[in-house]
Subunit: 354 residues, 2 copies
């Protein structure tokens, strides 16, 4: 069997862009195996594969092994590890809507913690100890100081079950690494992923009303939504709106490719948390302006009250990612907006109706 | 169907004493339904019921409904909720060996977190929202100040996956209560349960080498072990050995009976954490002396190095338990030792060979 990389949640937003980044690399000789329960990914009726993976296969001319399996399905996982020579796992599969997690905490803990533990058990059963984990800057809670570096305390003042589930998983992975030196875990703490593959053929396709700023803006620009809601204009920031560290999803995907290479480094082991961000924050209104420029459209917006749990400002210290992974974000805010617009305007209704 | 109380892990140490306390009360008209996967409880070959429950039935003349079911077994749980009119749940079922949890973190997180979430889902499915949870003073981590009151921070500096699993469950229960006001959760943070029912017929029966002090002392006294290991004699305490807040398991069981009554209180809702301790700490050597007096035996001991993760001193602020539950520990250190000795001397090999 050829060596393979298992990507859980590989049909989702960051997952699919990472699959694309892995397959675009000429030096990648790994097969790609994706599992996804399709909670956040579209598959057309009668098709075996979800739409993003079909498009990636078309663009790259390479085959993706796909399994419609939930990470809580122990037997399903074990079959996949038996069918493929998995070398390492990139674990994206999770529920990810902050607001929904407040309403449905049990569902989030079951999917994100119980599911993750079941995956780890399957890995251990099959002697696979190399893991890249999809974490989030929400593990830092309310920032004590900015920029946020990886030494900042985690677990304090996290505002949602979603954020807590990511924090709990990091703690579980630390315990795992303490219990057995064979484990190598790189937990990538994403700041705010936006944008789309430069082809415009894959991108973010949230179900229902978007939770995140960029798809919200994009859906207003394309006429699918009437106006943008801006949550709070009285934060202590450049223009009163919240500031975040937006990172292009292709840069983020490249970060995963770099992370995997660390597993080859002699002596590498244990748990490592690494920020993936640009180190620069932009306000909501700065994002709106940039998107108007990229799209040539006007984005009507309405300022409403703050959203519970939102913080004023957030951006990453990116020195560790450079030092450890040899990685830096290279795409600009204009790239993020132009690529989002290319995707959204070519696929106004997302994958489903395009 | 008669109203019932579901006790998970009801064949274990604290669980069985709580079942006994519930059945001993003349005013208790609830049926008792126990589920237990028998990981920490003995059942004789060919018997349906575990030995502690058989003995409780003999002593009380009352019937216990028993199910050999794991809390991760969703269908098994649902059948029990369908078979009985469960009014509230006392949730003991968990893995509990601190040292083992460091070696086997995934097993602990699966049993204690995934299992607990599955139980909560079954409760919700059947409209049961009243819960007493078996928590631990380990959630406080390294104490910032003593005595430990319920306002002390939790989650910081917890030394084991076991302790983290208890902390994570508390956070999950808080999220549950925020998501739906129907939930009523009382999380009882035990200090160090010791002793046995005054009958001497049920008691603590750890598998393998005891992790906790009192069963270790008792097994040395009865000749099953050669000598006690004392971990560290250079702590800043009265005699250099670690100080803990030991509480008689019958007092602890009574605390659960009181907790259940709170559910009848008008307006009671949400998450409440309550310490169960005596408020007084005793050192290892003080415990040895007290046990020698109660048993009339000499306890040989050897002082060895500190155990990783152990703290010097730990005892509870018990004012909230008094105020909220109307409960106080009434049994003395001499009671704890006398009752332990009665159990251990009548059952030198625990339930199995007596």
């Amino acid at each position: 069997m050829a060596p393979a990389i298992l990507v859980t949640g590989g049909a989702g937003y960051v997952g699919s862009h990472t699959v694309m980044a892995l397959l675009e690399r000429a030096d990648n000789e790994h097969e790609i195996v994706v599992i996804d329960n399709l909670v956040n990914a579209y598959r057309a009726d009668g098709e075996k594969k979800p739409e993003p993976l079909k498009r990636i296969e078309e663009m790259t001319g390479r085959k993706i092994h796909f399994y419609d399996v939930d990470i809580r399905d122990r037997d399903g996982l074990n079959r996949i590890f038996e069918n493929h020579s998995i070398q390492c796992v990139i674990h994206f599969a999770a529920l990810k809507a902050v607001g929904e997690s407040v309403q449905k905490p049990l569902e989030y803990y079951q999917a994100n913690i119980a599911g993750t533990c079941t995956l780890f058990e399957a890995m251990r059963t099959h002697g696979v100890y190399k893991l890249v984990y999809s974490s989030s800057c929400t593990v830092y809670g309310e920032p004590e100081k900015l920029p946020l570096d990886e030494g900042h305390p985690t677990g304090l003042g996290i505002a949602s079950p979603y954020g807590r589930s990511k924090y709990f998983c990091e703690e579980i992975m630390k315990d795992l690494c303490r219990s057995d030196q064979k484990w190598m875990v790189i937990s990538l703490r994403y700041f705010n992923p936006v944008g789309a593959h430069r082809s415009g053929r894959i991108g973010e396709d949230p179900a229902g009303l978007p939770n995140n700023l960029m798809p919200f803006i994009a859906q207003v620009a394309v006429g699918r939504l009437k106006e943008l809601m801006v949550f709070g204009s009285d934060y202590p920031t450049v223009d009163g709106t919240g500031v975040r560290d937006y990172i292009h999803v292709q840069d983020l995907a490249d970060g995963h490719v770099k992370a995997i290479r660390l597993f080859q480094q002699p002596g590498f082991s244990g748990f490592h948390a690494v920020n993936l961000g640009t180190g620069t924050g932009y306000s909501v209104l700065q994002m709106v302006k940039a998107f108007e420029k990229a799209s040539g459209r006007t984005i009507p917006y309405k300022i409403v009250g703050r959203r519970a749990g939102d913080i004023a400002t957030n951006y990453a210290d990116v020195s560790l990612s450079h030092r450890l992974l040899g990685w830096r974000a290279t795409r600009t805010l204009d790239d993020m907006c132009a690529d989002t617009w290319r995707w959204q305007s070519a696929n106004p209704e997302g994958f489903q109706k395009s």
